[in-house]
Symmetry: C2
Subunit: 188 residues, 2 copies
Amino acid sequence: MAPADDQAIEARALDAAEELFYARGLQAVGMDAIRGASGISLKRLYQLFPSKEALIEAYLRRRDERWRAALERYVDDRPAGRERLLAVFDWLGRWFAEPGFRGCAFVNSYGELGATSPGVAAAARAHKDAFRRHLAALVAEADAPAALADHVLLLAEGAITTAALTGGAEPARQAREAVELLLSRSSS
Amino acid sequence: MAPADDQAIEARALDAAEELFYARGLQAVGMDAIRGASGISLKRLYQLFPSKEALIEAYLRRRDERWRAALERYVDDRPAGRERLLAVFDWLGRWFAEPGFRGCAFVNSYGELGATSPGVAAAARAHKDAFRRHLAALVAEADAPAALADHVLLLAEGAITTAALTGGAEPARQAREAVELLLSRSSS
DNA sequence: CACCCCGGAGAACGACCGTTCTCCGCGCGG
DNA sequence: CCGCGCGGAGAACGGTCGTTCTCCGGGGTG
């Protein structure tokens, strides 16, 4: 068995885990459901991930990497400066409009298991930290005051949860609007 | 047995449910734990609430009423106008600093069971709707443009989840700062 | 061809949970 | 004083879940 097989199978397992965990929640999805969706036997699943907790943490880790990479790819297509910072909210708006959007996987996971599972809590904190650092870099690039990074983070975070609850994409537009106002204020 | 007894027992049940559900999550708390914390027998619990779902919904309903009443009491002590709108974030800051603060009960519940339980999803939406209406009224009182209500909602929402993840109260101060900037911008 | 090992399918196991049932004691109406 | 019904404690039941085990077939090796 080539290691390439292992990697491909692991990827399929994580694909199934991500789809199910994100759509239905962590505790609502049993290992059997992941086996059914991935076609990977329970035995093999437990060889790749020693426990459901480990699978959950691997799911969160990979989702963090992919989510941030997708955001970065999107905003890096814009010219550096205010445009690039504002593009964050265009990307959020596209995300909100995707079918099956159900809010931030890390916030959802933290609400469900953060109190019980230190691994889940740490993953959520790491994700938000990395997001915040990215925003701070964009704010610096836009020559805006550093405090704006916190404001932008709160607006993005609020837009994500509000979009999850209302099911629409307008929070992205509203948050972008607020950032534009804050930017014009800080440069006056 | 006087109905007053029933109400007192129901209140004790909801007290226990609120403490446990909020601290540990909905699915992590069994009916047995609520019986242990409240001292109310399972039989009586099921007489008051026909199912765990019903207890969860009653918990959310009561928490919504109390949360919004506490906020309203706090901000109504300030003079009408911008001060009153900004007081929302002072109140949030006090809430964040309370021991056991773990974010918005409705966002957490929605992340955990919103996909499975329509009742939980509806309760979360109703709570955010009512909060938004309250903010809109405060924005109108402050003679600020109506669009500011959405911006303030996003900042408050973002502050709540960010405070939950980082464990500090600064997001309230940062959000207040952003609202001040937006207010000064809109009146210039 | 015989052997062996790996992986798949699914049963099995132990724990837990929501809900109901049994049994018992206690207080009130005759 | 005698029943009788309500409430409490906890066992019981049915289902689910995480995890492990059993059994079996198939493919590579001598």
